[in-house]
């Protein structure tokens, strides 16, 4: 066996020890900060007074008699089940054994201050006892107080009238408040389990057996129709319920997280082997973390167990990153991959673990443990993924089709619009204005299990026995006797001030050894007068029954002095009572318990009540208030601390403040979105979910960094951004959401709310980072944006759909209205596409002799004229007659001789005015020209426009579609026909360099080619808008020698002459020279194919 394997086996020892040591802590109070006074008081109470072994069974019904019968039957049945139950007590022990009450009373009198005992002795002295008995008879005859009557009846000598109690002393009532409620419809059975120690599985099984026995016990004919309901609470029930719930949470959340992660991984990589090893690695991470948790903490609490699913969701990122790198580098060894990813994973693990460790400052120990466990798990997960997972999946051999294309996918710069940001802000703002911010719930409910029958039974118990969440516990420690005396006086005064309604203190039942010694002599003397006192009382008319208590007290005093005087009596009743209000710590210190019911002027402050030092005070209500303040303060500081740390990290990462600002803005908007979702869903913040704020801050900032760094690399390339970074973030966010979300159904309400908020928060931040942040970043970095328009390609607006919409506009609206709309559209377009305006300005600069301002004015006029032309064109193609709106203008008399020559006429025109109207204009003279066009951007659009011309009787030839089109054109000219051709925007294959306006210009050589082939008349024409109507103008034919045109240079020169002929017209109407692409390019032509460019497309 190798050394490393021996080392591995050696490491198994502490891990096994950790797992063996692991325990679950079901005590809710252990989740809370012990430095809060209210928590300290409640913890002491729960630890020493809630009887850690006792099961409490509640019996509820409508009929008190039936409830009593059911409680008795149940207690009897359980007492018989000796393998289950050691004792089951259903009524006060003093009812079962009244003699014990007298013994306790005798003991309590001994503990009284000597002056009080002296008063008793004086009251019963031979000279006073008659008067005392007369007074008691008077009370019996006239009192309307039921309690006074009862006490006088059974205690005429007044031994039960202890000085420090107003009501009956403990042990002299019916057990109301401990065993039964006031109306008898609710009873309580205290069950002492037979097993000395039970773990949670044993407690669960034991509770199930007790439940069965209890249910059977009340299923008797005598209780038929009594509608008896049983409840089970107390420590064994809580242990069974919470611990099994924790186990269920752990199992279900881990399983569901792993399944979701596996699904995400499968969708991303579609490979079983790495998926299997990833799941194994996650399991290994979890087990090691649990073992380390066992070693470090020993006991895991209900909250901290939530770490498992959170850890799964976060640790899987390291596996995903490692595998992604392996896929990107097929054939690389594990060591090579590790070298590439270890730095990033290590940095991420340390920072994320650090963030979770900061949860220790959140002020909740339960949450601190969760943070620490998650931090341990993250570091463990990083090691496991790098050194266990990677070697098992590397090297990767992935088909080329999956590893990434050899040829990069086309860049898609798409539209980085502000609309989504605007909509997000509007929706979030609207929701928050409409519904407000989520409220804060200060209650401690989130710390408790959800849907808990055990808690419901406990609440029922408290309510029925007169204990509410506002009842305060007083915990006495140290010099308890003195504290009780001082507290008794302070609380009596507070009651007089209406600050409290009532209080219960074990003052009379607390051992006072010194008093007992001092009172012993007086007690002996009274005991010696026992017979005399009995005789006097009977002479006063009292029955022997009424003197039983007095006799028992005096008998107790007559016994020899107990050497253990100063401690409590040992009868069952005394043991029961002392267990309720006294306890001894592991160090031997005595603790005592008191209760206070707040009054209308209660201020909730021990010092204000005048309580002596060492007395702790707390209630569930005060706990909630204290906790809310405590956690809110801590979370605020924690959030600021993490925020400041993160700003520092962001500054280091970006090295500029602008991107830091974007990160913070993305987080802020993500949080605002979270608030909106919470508001809509009706969620509120609570003690635990509040901690989601710093947690999210720490775990989400990565996304903002990754996206901005990706934008630096890829610019606004949407495809690259999504394919490389977006998908990875989606996987990680999905895994995180799965991890957090799997606890949304946790049995612990707080944990569920915390993780639900975290899951939604991660989703919100992801949406903002991938959906909105790029727009902000790109807006701040315009230099990375390539031109949004491609002058060589048609506009994205020049589509069949929009053209058809234009046709409808032209058909349905009056020309004036359509013109207004078109002009508005053009203005909008100029705002959206200022680059296009710049192109037109460049084109028109020669007309202004380089004056840019004038060129810009010309360009604006040009766009407006184009709007008017578009409207006219749409109307024309929509079928509105336009022929009459075109009138012959100057030079048109050249046309008829040209036609009459029989050589065929080639009409050449620049993109000047509305050349499309030439066909209907010629139609007036019975001439149907053949119009040459280039293919439109889409076949559908080409057909749409050709059909429109055909409806007007215009014959169109799409040159690019028909290889034999050139033949048809020549034939048409040779037959003496008329062909129309645009000359100033050539196809690259027909472009030849000429000069226009003194600048190099590319024109189509197609006219020269056709002239050479046919000897046709080349007649420059144009139709421009003048004074509200169109004028068709012609220039003298451009003469040439057909034979000379055999030479290409001659053809180029001839093309130049045509342009020069047209130049004055272009100079005259620059606002109607419609070129929206750069025209002063000087690219040399490649081939001489006579193709004319039809160009009615709107500016791109």
């Amino acid at each position: 066996m190798t050394r490393s394997r021996w080392l591995g086996l050696l490491l198994l020892v502490p891990l096994a020890a950790g797992l063996f040591r692991l325990r679950f802590d079901a005590d809710v109070l252990n989740l809370l900060p012990a430095d809060l006074p209210s928590v300290a008081a409640l913890q002491l109470h729960q630890r020493y007074f809630a009887n850690a072994r006792e099961l409490v069974i509640t019996v509820r019904g409508n009929d008190p008699a039936a409830v009593t019968s059911a409680a008795e039957a149940l207690a009897t049945r359980l007492s018989e089940a000796v393998q289950l139950v050691r004792a089951a007590r259903w009524q006060a022990p003093w009812i079962e054994d009244p003699s014990a009450a007298a013994e306790n009373l005798a003991w309590m009198w001994l503990q009284q201050p000597p002056e009080e005992f002296a008063r008793l002795a004086a009251r019963l002295s031979p000279t006073n006892v008659d008067r005392e008995l007369t007074s008691v008879r008077e009370t019996l005859a006239t009192s309307l107080d039921p309690d006074a009557l009862a006490r006088a009846s059974y205690d005429p000598l007044g031994f039960s009238r202890l000085p420090s109690t107003s009501g009956p002393p403990a042990g002299f009532d019916t057990g109301t408040g401990i065993f039964v409620n006031e109306d008898g419809t609710f009873r309580v059975i205290y069950v002492d389990p037979a097993p000395a120690h039970m773990n949670y599985t044993q407690a669960d099984a034991w509770l199930a057996a007790v439940r069965r026995a209890s249910t059977n016990a009340v299923a008797i004919p005598a209780l038929d129709g009594a509608d008896i309901h049983l409840g089970f609470t107390g420590t064994p029930a809580f242990v069974a319920e919470i611990a099994t719930g924790m186990e269920r949470d752990l199992t279900s959340s881990v399983l569901s997280t792993v399944v979701l992660i596996a699904l995400l991984f499968w969708l991303a990589h579609r490979s079983w082997r790495p998926l299997g090893w990833l799941v194994v690695s996650l399991g290994l991470t979890l087990v090691i973390t649990l073992a380390l948790g066992g070693l470090v903490f020993g006991t895991l609490n209900v909250i901290s167990l939530g770490f498992a699913a959170v850890l799964m969701g976060l640790a899987v990122d390291y596996g995903l990153v490692s595998y992604q790198e392996a896929v990107a580098g097929p054939g690389k060894s594990p060591a090579e991959i590790r070298r590439e990813v270890a730095h990033g994973i290590g940095y991420s693990a340390v920072t994320t673990a650090g963030t979770f460790l900061l949860l220790g400052f959140a002020g909740l120990p339960g949450l601190a443990q969760l943070g620490a466990l998650t931090a341990i798990g993250l570091l463990t997960g990083a090691v496991v993924m790098l050194f266990f997972f990677l070697p098992r999946v590397c090297p990767v051999s992935v088909p080329a089709s999956r590893t990434g294309p050899a040829i990069s996918p086309p860049k898609s710069h798409g539209q980085w619009s502000w609309w989504p940001t605007g909509i997000a802000l509007a929706v979030i703002g609207g929701v928050l204005l409409w519904r407000g911010l989520p409220s804060m719930t200060a209650s401690d409910d989130p710390l408790r299990p959800r849907h808990s029958p055990t808690y419901a039974a406990m609440e029922d118990l408290r309510r029925e026995l007169g204990r509410t969440n506002s009842t305060y516990w007083l915990l006495f420690s140290g010099a308890v006797g003195d504290q009780l005396d001082a507290t008794q006086a302070a609380l009596a005064a507070a009651r007089d001030r209406s600050e409290i309604d009532s209080f219960e203190l074990p003052t009379t039942f607390w051992p006072r050894p010194r008093n007992a010694a001092d009172n012993r002599k007086g007690a002996d003397e009274l005991a010696q007068r026992s017979t005399e006192l009995r005789r006097v009382a009977m002479a006063a008319g009292f029955t022997t029954n009424s003197l039983a208590l007095a006799g028992a007290v005096l008998t107790a005093w007559s016994r020899p002095e107990d050497p253990s005087a100063g401690t409590w009596p040992t009868n069952a009743m005394a043991r029961f009572l002392t267990g309720r209000f006294s306890a001894r710590t592991e160090t031997g210190e005595w603790l005592a318990l008191g209760l206070v019911q707040p009054g209308p002027k209660f201020v909730g402050d021990a010092a204000h009540l005048g309580l002596p030092p060492g007395v702790a005070m707390g209630s569930w209500d005060s706990l909630s208030t204290d906790l809310a303040g405590h956690v809110t303060r801590r979370v605020t500081w924690l959030t600021l601390l993490i925020g400041a740390t993160l700003i520092g990290f962001l500054r280091l990462a970006f090295r500029n403040w602008r991107e830091v600002g974007f990160s913070l803005a993305a987080l802020a908007l993500g949080f605002a979105m979270l608030l909106g979702v919470m508001t809509l869903a009706g969620w509120s913040w609570n003690l635990l979910s509040l901690v989601a704020l710093p947690l999210l801050l720490g775990s989400s900032v990565d996304s903002t960094i990754h996206v901005q760094l990706a934008l630096r690399r890829h610019g606004p390339d949407r495809t690259a951004l999504w394919r490389i970074t977006g998908k990875a973030l989606l996987l990680c966010a999905g895994a995180n959401i799965a991890g957090f979300g799997s606890l949304a159904w946790s049995s612990n309400a707080g944990l569920a709310s915390l993780d639900l908020v975290c899951a939604v928060g991660v989703a919100c931040v992801f949406v903002v980072c991938v959906g909105l942040l790029p727009t902000w970043w790109i807006a701040a970095h315009p230099s990375v944006i390539p031109p949004r328009v491609d002058p060589e390609n048609p506009s994205s607006l020049y589509t069949a759909g929009l053209w058809r919409a234009g046709l409808h506009l032209g058909r349905l609206l009056p020309a004036a209205w359509a013109g207004v709309l078109a002009r508005a559209g053009v203005k909008l377009y100029l705002r959206m596409r200022p680059e296009r305006f710049d192109i037109v300005v460049e084109n028109l600069l020669p007309f202004s002799a380089g004056d840019r301002g004038q060129a810009e004015r010309l360009a604006r006029a040009n766009f407006e004229a184009f709007a008017a032309k578009l409207v006219d064109l749409w109307r024309y193609e929509a079928g509105v007659p336009v022929a009459e709106s075109v009138q012959p203008g100057s030079g048109w008399d050249h046309f008829s001789p040209a036609v009459a020559s029989g050589r065929g006429v080639l009409l050449v025109t620049p993109h000047l005015g509305n050349w499309e109207f030439g066909a209907p204009f010629l139609g007036r003279y019975g001439i149907k020209p053949l119009v040459l066009t280039a293919p439109e951007p889409a076949p559908h659009l080409t057909r749409l426009r050709a059909d429109a011309r055909a409806r007007q009787g215009v014959e169109t030839l799409v040159v690019g579609e028909d290889p034999f089109a050139f033949v048809e054109i020549i034939r048409r000219l040779q037959d003496g026909g008329v062909v129309a051709l645009l000359i100033d925007r050539p196809n690259p294959s027909t472009a030849v360099p000429v000069e226009l306006l003194g600048r190099p210009f590319l024109a189509s050589v197609a006219a020269a080619e056709l002239a050479r082939a046919t000897g046709c008349v080349v007649l420059p024409v144009f139709i421009v808008r003048e004074a509200g109507s169109y004028r068709a103008r012609a220039l003298p034919p451009v003469e040439y020698e057909q034979r000379q045109l055999r030479d290409r240079a001659e053809r180029i020169a001839f093309t130049g002459r045509i342009l020069r002929a047209l130049e004055p017209a272009i100079r005259q109407f620059p606002d109607q020279w419609f070129h929206f692409v750069p025209v002063w390019d000087t690219r040399p032509p490649q081939r001489s194919t006579p193709v004319a460019g039809g160009a009615d497309s709107p500016p791109h």
Partner: protein, 215 residues
């Protein structure tokens, strides 16, 4: 004995009719006062104890009981609370009779105004008529609280009513431990003018006031 008692429980309708007539008559009362002798048969004593006293009632539900002459114990119903005073001890106890106060004590204390029912339906909701007997001069109703919790403290009670004018002549309360408390009324006056201050408790600082049932 002339007009010997006749148990009429078997005569269907008669006991209910009688009870209804008495309840109707009581509903007409605006005030009432009487002297009484209260006799307590207690298990603790070999002989019963008797005390004179006086009672005042004013519609709709105010009463004042004074036991002893001079009064050693006073019970006053004022609004929704019962105040029990021990003048010689300067001690006062306030018991709320509102819905918030639950339990047998409230039920038992409410019985102090049992002799002055104003609402027939309410009375029947609270009590079952177990038995009825009559002589020429009186009707005797044996009643039992319907509430089980009230029965725990007070299993039964008896009302004796004069047949000529439906005046209450005696009440007897039987307690769970076997004790009995009987009031025999005399010098009763229907609808006398009653000083409202009788039902109003004013206590100076010398009184020790407690609210035993408050939680």
């Amino acid at each position: 004995m002339i007009g010997a008692a006749v148990v009429v429980a078997a005569r269907a309708g008669a006991p209910e009719d009688a009870l209804a007539r008495w309840l109707d008559a009581q509903a007409q009362l605006t005030s009432w006062s009487a002297d009484f002798v209260q006799t307590r048969h207690l298990q603790a004593l070999t002989q019963p104890l008797s005390s004179p006293g006086k009672v005042w009632f004013a519609a709709p539900g105010q009463f004042r009981w004074e036991v002893g002459q001079p009064a050693l114990s006073i019970a006053i119903r004022e609004d929704d609370q019962l105040v029990v005073l021990a003048p010689n001890l300067k001690r006062a106890e306030r018991y709320s009779l509102s819905a918030a106060a639950r339990g047998p004590m409230k039920e038992a204390l409410a019985l102090l105004d049992t002799g002055f029912p104003r609402d027939s339906d309410d009375f029947r909701r609270r009590f079952d008529l177990l038995a009825f007997s009559s002589t020429n001069a009186t009707w005797t109703f044996q009643l039992q609280p319907r509430s089980a919790s009230a029965r725990k403290l007070l299993p039964g009670m008896t009302l004796v009513v004069e047949t000529n004018d439906f005046t209450l002549s005696a009440t007897e309360l039987r307690f769970a431990d076997g004790s009995r408390l009987r009031n025999d009324f005399k010098n009763s006056v229907k609808n006398p003018p009653v000083d409202p201050s009788l039902f109003h408790v004013v206590l100076d600082d010398s009184w020790k006031v407690t609210t035993p049932m408050a939680k």
